[in-house]
């Protein structure tokens, strides 16, 4: 029986066709594998291109800023060009005072707004949410101009005017971060508390806030980091001050201003002060950003 079914493979059209299909498939696979490898390589190349300048910025700031750091740099006020021993103590104080005021006002306000948004789903709430979203991206120079119109025109240049502008930059960031954190509280926990007859305020205080704490801290620290790095709103509101000034109702100096003004000076020692200030500002911002992650991670681990 079997022998009658034997056929001549060389002349069978089906076998020939199958061979062609195999060949085409192999060619297609080879072609696609090559183009895939090229495209994936291009992606890797993009990643490399992206990382180089970003690493270069940080590396340059560290390399050029560290030599500027000295005891005088942190403890002395700005000196005029040519007189050695100048520092940025006045700018450090200004940035700290302005940052503290802005944080002290925006954190309670922003978190309350965030809680409001987390507990509301109406049309009003989504309008507020949208407003906060858009406000996180508006050009910060226009917020500086608002600070000028609202505060400087009436009360003159002052640290408070700067804190006002910085606060407006920080507020929407805190609101949205707060809302996200408050919303991450499991629904069941909320409902359990409600079922036990707890009032909204005590649910907020005893359930929502403690559970959301890691997210809240992360959001606040990131907002502070963002606020401290802002330059444009300060340029139009605090005026700068090369003398020591603790009083926020008077013109103050700040680290971003020192960087901005000194970087375009023709004198190497002033440029060096700018690098030192840039390193300090970068260090503060990165410590806040990294710190926010560490705090959140630690708090979350404790919960378990």
């Amino acid at each position: 029986m079997a022998s009658t079914l034997a056929f001549d493979a060389t002349s069978d059209p089906m076998v020939e066709r199958r061979r062609q299909i195999h060949q085409a498939a192999r060619a297609s696979l080879r072609r696609r594998a090559i183009s895939s490898r090229i495209a994936v390589g291009v992606c890797w190349l993009c990643l490399a291109i992206a990382i180089v300048p970003l690493v270069a910025v940080v590396a340059y700031v560290v390399a050029k800023g560290l030599p500027a750091w000295s005891a005088d740099f942190f403890t002395h006020v700005t000196t005029p060009e040519g007189i050695p021993g100048g520092g940025v103590w006045n700018a450090i104080v200004g940035t700290a005072v302005i940052g503290l005021i802005a944080t002290a006002v925006t954190v309670p306000l922003g978190l309350s707004c965030g809680l409001f948004l987390a507990q509301s789903d109406g049309r009003v709430a989504s309008a507020v949410r949208f407003t906060a979203d858009v406000m996180t991206g508006v050009p910060s120079i226009t917020i500086g101009i608002f600070g000028y119109i609202a505060i400087v025109r009436n009360f003159g240049y002052s640290g408070l005017a700067g804190a006002f502008s910085i606060g407006i930059v920080m507020l929407p960031v805190i609101i949205r971060a707060g809302e996200t954190a408050f919303r991450s509280v499991p629904r069941g926990l909320n409902e359990a508390a409600l079922a036990l007859g707890a009032r909204n305020a005590s649910i907020a205080r005893r359930v929502v806030v403690p559970t959301a704490l890691p997210g809240v801290i992360t959001g606040v620290l990131l907002a502070v980091a963002r606020g401290l790095g802002e330059t444009a709103p300060l340029l139009l509101t605090i005026f700068g001050n090369q003398y020591m000034q603790w009083n926020p109702t008077k013109p103050m100096d700040a680290l971003p201003l020192v960087i901005f003004y000194n970087s375009s000076q023709p004198y190497p020692d002033l440029v060096q002060i700018a690098w030192g200030a840039a390193l300090l500002l970068l260090a503060v911002v990165l410590v806040l950003s990294i710190g926010s992650r560490v705090v959140a991670a630690v708090l979350r681990r404790e919960k378990r």
């Binding site: 696979l29 895939s36 490898r37 495209a39 992606c43 993009c46 990643l47 992206a50 300048p53 970003l54 270069a56 910025v57 940080v58 340059y60 700031v61 306000l109 309350s112 707004c113 709430a125 507020v128 949208f130 858009v134 991206g137 508006v138 050009p139 120079i141 226009t142 101009i145 000028y148 119109i149 609202a150 407006i168 609101i175 971060a177 991450s184 926990l189 508390a193 007859g197 009032r199 305020a201 005590s202 005893r206 997210g215 992360t218 990131l222 790095g229 330059t231 444009a232 340029l235 960087i259 901005f260 970087s263 440029v271 700018a274 840039a278 970068l282 911002v285 959140a296 979350r300 919960k303």
Partner: protein, 324 residues
């Protein structure tokens, strides 16, 4: 999970020592907070509009598109600055979109899992670097390289296109655009990575089962699924580039004339404000407020579009708040 003590008892129960705020009082407290925020935003918008009005009434609407800015002769055309803003943003995005997308794809799907978290964190941290630091770096480190090497090369190699003529000063549109590219890159990468990473596993595996190569999976499955989010990230990056002030002010050369080549010094709306605001009075000040309003309108429009495109959860790339 936290142990939550909710004392038994009716709605009038005391919680611990303190009396719980009645629902209505608590609720109105939160509403007041939201109202203060909204009032601040309204105050901000209204005061800019009010201050900008004189510019529109004395100069007409056409001043926005006039070509000459010359305060001593009472000419306040905004066109050079609008063009400068558009041109620097365009240079930044032409570079940031492909490179940002490529890096986001690599970060989301190609990098080994061990490296994913550290690299992603690094990108997000870089988004927090203050812009004035980029300006300092651009002015002191990159501008001299542009002046001595990059720009002479570009004008000798591509001078025939007409785009790269003019003096090689280092500072100018090209430098500003490239530094902006570096600045918006983390935004672009962080948001694109987030939306690229959430493509359903079944779709990826389905494509692989059909014999798709790695690139075909990325190209035909991953990217189409993330298109809206990528567009949103692009728009957010655009918003950041349009409104960037101090970094650009340091490196663009600040010239109130329309640039003839990408190497010419120029100015943007934001740098116009920061450079002229201190000394301006009268009509010039009104014109500056007008310029601020134009910038604000552009900024709000771009960001509003971005927020409509990007799901809020993906935005947490900029403000990372883990859920759960």
């Amino acid at each position: 999970m936290t142990a939550v003590e909710i004392p038994a008892g009716g709605s009038g129960a005391r919680t611990g020592r303190r009396v719980a705020l009645p629902n209505r009082a608590y609720r109105s407290l939160l509403v007041v907070a939201a109202a203060i925020f909204v009032a601040l935003v309204v105050w901000y918008l209204v005061s800019l509009v009010v201050q900008a009005r004189p510019a529109f009434t004395t100069l007409g609407v056409s001043w926005i598109f006039q070509k000459v800015w010359d305060p001593t002769h009472n000419r306040f055309g905004l066109l050079p600055f609008i063009l400068g803003t558009v041109e620097t943003t365009a240079i930044a995005l032409v570079l940031a979109v492909p490179i940002g997308l490529g890096s986001a794809l690599a970060l989301a799907h190609l990098v080994p899992d061990r490296l994913k978290a550290p690299l992603s964190t690094a990108v997000e941290l870089l988004a927090a670097v203050p812009s004035v630091v980029y300006g300092l770096w651009g002015l002191i480190v990159v501008a001299p390289v542009f002046r001595s090497t990059v720009e002479p090369f570009l004008s000798s190699a591509f001078g025939w296109t007409g785009l790269f003529n003019g003096p090689a000063d280092g500072v100018g549109l090209l430098l500003a655009g490239i530094i902006l590219f570096v600045m918006v890159l983390p935004t672009m990468v962080a948001i694109s990575r987030d939306v690229l990473a959430v493509v359903p596993r079944e779709q990826v595996e389905g494509a692989m089962a059909l014999g798709a190569t790695r690139w075909q999976v990325l190209h035909k499955v991953v990217i189409p699924g993330a298109r809206t989010g990528i567009l949103g990230g692009f728009t957010l990056a655009m918003g950041r580039a349009l409104g960037e002030t101090v970094a650009v002010a340091l490196i663009i050369g600040n010239s109130p004339y329309i640039a003839h080549s990408v190497m010419s010094p120029a100015a943007t709306l934001a740098t116009l404000l920061v450079n002229n605001f201190g000394e301006a009075t009268g009509t010039e000040l009104a014109a500056l407020f007008g310029a601020a309003l134009v910038l604000l309108v552009i900024g709000v429009a771009v960001n509003a579009v971005a927020r409509l495109l990007v799901p809020s959860s993906a935005l947490s790339g900029a403000v990372p708040v883990a859920v759960g």
